[in-house]
Symmetry: C2
Subunit: 264 residues, 2 copies
């Protein structure tokens, strides 16, 4: 089979990466997309870089074994800590993460001067976003928000409790009047309405999905890997655990129910 | 080495089991205690029984390899879903969980008539507590509280946010005036002050620690496995990830800092 006809592999620790998946589907309707949710080991964001690198390698190996022509690391924690590692282990497979596309997008927005960054403890602790954005001359404040992922995983995204937990973490961002909020975790877009309300719609919110889908399209073109644009892409979903819960929760990410989830 | 001189092995998905560990230490000061926190795979409570059984087997195998004379599954999720499995895999090692001791304790308290049970989704979903307590003729209401573990893991245990999340899950228990609250998760004792305040000290709160330590003592006597009572027990702590974070968070469970944590 010609390489261009092969699927795009996408993985995340769990269901968060499907905000990226959905944007890729919208932008690249003719591509076959395989999604792997590592639900047996979720969450990644409170674990060490060493452990994340091991898990990321296992995930890329699975997707490459399924024939993936490129792999998208649709998880900020894995992108921040394991991207160099999986690129070194799989030198023949183009692999993109979500951090570089977001930084690239912000580099085109000079009006983003006073940036607030939120993410998991491991993403924030890696300092990857901070050093990239500071090298662009931006002011950057970073805050780990470890409770946001459990709230999203539980589907609690519009409730007074959510507003309380947002205030718990982000009161300091409101005080210093950030102009841009970077959602450095692919779970966080589900909190976007609550975050917009909290910042009274005065903050530009940037998430990983659109920049990453755009970077993927550019990569496919650059490597001559785009599929026949007249086709209709197929989708397969794989999880390492609890297919039922993934199907239930995951539907909220794609905005529609899933037809089938394969447990590996 | 005589079997009685060997250590007691204790494991949990992460740090929660150390509420049980502390009680064992208090009750059995002369025993050597080895604790394993499976921090690379935490949490267990939102994962499937199949996955939990696999992880529990790995953990017991490690502790037995370290010479454990008995193993305590200091995790309600693993006790509810994996105890029969690890007993079958390791028939020569006495293994106790936390569910049977708690049920045994409640069987001695007939005044516990209207019981509220809280735990992880997987523990509650297993139905193990419910069927045992119903067979004792008690009225039992069960509620999964998946956000409690992340709150405890983050050390947020006395804050208005905690009171909000308790009310989110447990308003229905207050309405029906339960007389007893069973903390079916070894993380939850850290929320005990907040829970007592929420129920205005009118509810008897039962956790896993004291009943399990008592059941362990009985087991050691029954099998002739008690160590020389004049000795002073040693302790070793093992984690599968992030020793630093375990040391920081774990100290709150034992009420003192840890001297050393070994990363396996």
């Amino acid at each position: 089979m010609a390489l261009a006809k092969k699927p795009i592999g996408v993985f995340d620790s769990g269901i968060g990466g499907r905000t990226v998946f959905r944007e890729i589907r919208n932008l690249l309707p003719s591509e076959d997309l395989y999604y792997l949710g590592d639900t047996a080991r979720v969450p990644y964001g409170t674990k060490s870089p060493e452990v994340i690198r091991r898990y990321a390698e296992i995930n890329v190996r699975f997707l490459v074994g399924q024939g993936a022509k490129v792999v998208v690391v649709a998880c900020n924690t894995a992108s921040a800590t394991a991207l160099d590692h999986v690129r070194a282990v799989f030198p023949d497979v183009p692999i993109i993460g979500v951090v570089e596309p977001v930084v690239g997008y912000l580099s085109t927005r000079p009006e983003a001067e006073n940036i607030g960054l939120i993410g998991t403890p491991t993403t924030i602790g890696s300092g990857v976003y901070q050093s990239a954005l500071e090298s662009l001359g931006r002011t950057i404040r970073a805050k780990a928000c470890p409770l946001f992922v459990p709230f999203v995983e539980e589907g609690i995204v519009s409730h007074p409790l959510v507003d309380q937990v947002i205030d718990y973490y982000l009161a300091e961002f409101r005080e210093v009047a950030i102009d841009t909020l970077v959602l450095g975790c692919t779970h966080y877009p589900l909190l976007r309405p609550a975050l917009e309300a909290y910042f009274r719609n005065k903050v530009h919110i940037v998430d990983s999905a659109a920049p990453t889908a755009g970077a993927l399209r550019d990569l496919l073109v650059r490597f001559g890997l785009s599929s026949d644009p007249s086709g209709k892409g197929e989708e397969r979903f794989f999880v390492t655990d609890a297919a039922e819960s993934f199907r239930r929760i995951g539907g909220r990410f794609l905005g529609r129910p899933l037809s089938a989830v394969e447990h590996i």
